[in-house]
Each structure stands twice: as structure tokens, then as C-alpha cells.
């Protein structure tokens, strides 16, 4: 690796890879060389289940700006979701 920037968290849910939907175990966020995005470095997010081999992977490669926007959207959606839960309980 050229940056060693990698963050890994547990993930519960499903992801859609090249062989269809699979159960997720981890989300891996890194900032390093992308494979396909035409960028020198990218925020790469891999939703994976390594119990099923390297191919159990749903991936995106984003510019830093896109990743920041996604982060903002995630935070907003999570906050709204938590408000919904609070109303129900």
C-alpha cells in the first residue's frame, strides 16, 4: 500500500456483488490508488464478506469531494432515522 489509510468496521446487512446479493461482514474504507476511477487516489469503500472469498465484494471508488458529500448524506439520513425511532418508542 502506498498510503496505509484503511478503516474497517463491522457490517450487518446485504450487498450486491457480481454474483448477486450476499451477507456483509465488514465495511472497508480506504484512501489509496483506485482500480477504475480515473484518479490518482480515491476513497474506496468495499462492502465485503471475506468468508466467501475476495469476490464477495460491492465496491465504489469516489473522489474525496464525493466521499465528503456521501458522509454528509449518511449523517443526515442516520439522524432522521434516529428521530423516527425516537418517535415510535
Amino acid at each position: 500500500m502506498c498510503t496505509s489509510i484503511v478503516e474497517i468496521v463491522n457490517a450487518e446487512g446485504k450487498g450486491k456483488g457480481k454474483d448477486g446479493w450476499f451477507a456483509l461482514t465488514k465495511s472497508v474504507v480506504s484512501y489509496d490508488h483506485p482500480h477504475f476511477a480515473l484518479l490518482e487516489e480515491a476513497i474506496t469503500i468495499d462492502f465485503v464478506n471475506h468468508d466467501h472469498g475476495p469476490g464477495a465484494r460491492a465496491a465504489v471508488e469516489l473522489t474525496l469531494e464525493s466521499a465528503k458529500a456521501l458522509n454528509g448524506a449518511l449523517n443526515k439520513a442516520i439522524k432522521a432515522a434516529e428521530n423516527e425511532h425516537a418517535k415510535r418508542s
Binding site: 500500500m1 502506498c2 490508488h33 482500480h35 471475506h50 475476495p54
Partner: protein, 248 residues
Amino acid sequence: MAYEGMIAETLSISGNNNELISAYSARPLGPGPFPGVVLIHHLPGWSEWYREATRRFAHHGYAAISHNLYHRVGEGDAEDVAAKARAEGGVADEEVLGDTEGAVQWMRAQPYHNGKVGVIGSCSGGRQAFLYACNTSSIDAVVELWGGRVVQAEDDRPEKQPTPPIDFTKDLSCPMLGLFGNEDRSPSAEQVDQHEAELKKHGKDYEFHRYDGAGHGFFYYHRPMYCIEQAMDGWEKIFGFFQKHLAE
């Protein structure tokens, strides 16, 4: 017109601790003798670019082999395997040294080999090529292409890469060629300065070429970092260097 041909194939070799790992080799047809080149693949894995580079050396008269440092990570598309390797913190330096020694010894055992071996790697493979050259006496030349993290920050000492390769500079065992882009961030121009200063300090036989207008990975024709002028000059430098140290 003289007949020309090459053989390129996957095979298994003994890697670290004699574990079998996969590799891809290419060489010209005929009895040789051919100088040997071992290619250490980059962070994006044992990829198509590395297969092409292996064949490129064969096209230029070398017996070449690219071993798969991610063999133990699993099988699959190169980018999926590389993603899994990244999530696992990359491969351990110790393992890389053992696997690369295995590839070098495999080359030395081939009947068509001329007795000289060079090692080349780019990106993380550039770091590993330099690291290996400082931890072996089995090779005759090394080429480091923009090796990221030869210089590692104080807080960058992961378990699998515990020692910055620059710390081993005094043990560099063979002539070295280094190619770098001045716009690169990993390694930055300052890090390349440190790398060079250390080589100078220990009186090593090296040549560095540092290209203006080039960043990281400027050989990769399928990436936006590609710089045709610098890449063509770089390839010329590599072939000149290997000709001098492996073929003459």
C-alpha cells in the same frame, strides 16, 4: 526475417517457508542464455499490467517472472484480491522477502538462465524491491519505481511493515536504479531526497531519475497518471540499466 517467439505461462514456485505460490513467467523461445528479471507487483495486485510488463521483458530478451504476493489472500479478480489484501493490512514484509527470494532462486535454477538476476517493482512493489535488495545477496541489480513508504512516518509502523526500508540502506547489496515523479505524494519529493541522501551517505552505487510533470505511476498507460514522454524515457533507462548489469 528471423523467427521470433516467446512462451508465457502461469506456474507454481516455492515461496516463503517453501509454501507454493503462483507466478507468471515469460521468456523468449530458444536455449538462451537469458538474463533474469523478477517483477514485484504493485498495490493493485497481480494485475494485467504486470503480466504485460513480464512479457515486455521477454520481448527484450529476458527471462522474466512475476510472483503473486497475494497468493495466500485468495483467488479471484486481481482487484478483488487486492481489496482483500488491503483490508488485511497488506502483506508482511517478512513474507515478501521469502516469496521474492523464492522467485529469484527459481530463476537461477532454470537451464536457460545466464546467471544474473535483476528485481524490479513499482509502487508498493518498488518499496518491496528496495527492501529485498537490502536483505539479500542473491541479485545483481534492482530497479525501484516510485516506491511508496520507503520512508515511513513515525506513526506508520504497522505490524506487517514494522521497519521503514530506508533503515536498511547500508545493506543494499547491488546497483540500484530509481525512477520518480516530482509531483508524486507517495513518495514525495522530500522523501526521495531523504532516500537519496541515505544512499549517498553509505556510498551506494545508485542512479535516480526524477521527472518533472510526472506524479505517481506514470508508466500506467490505462491510468490518468500516464506520462508518455517520461514513461518512454524511463523504460529506456530500465533496459539500459539491466543491459549493463545483467546482460554484458
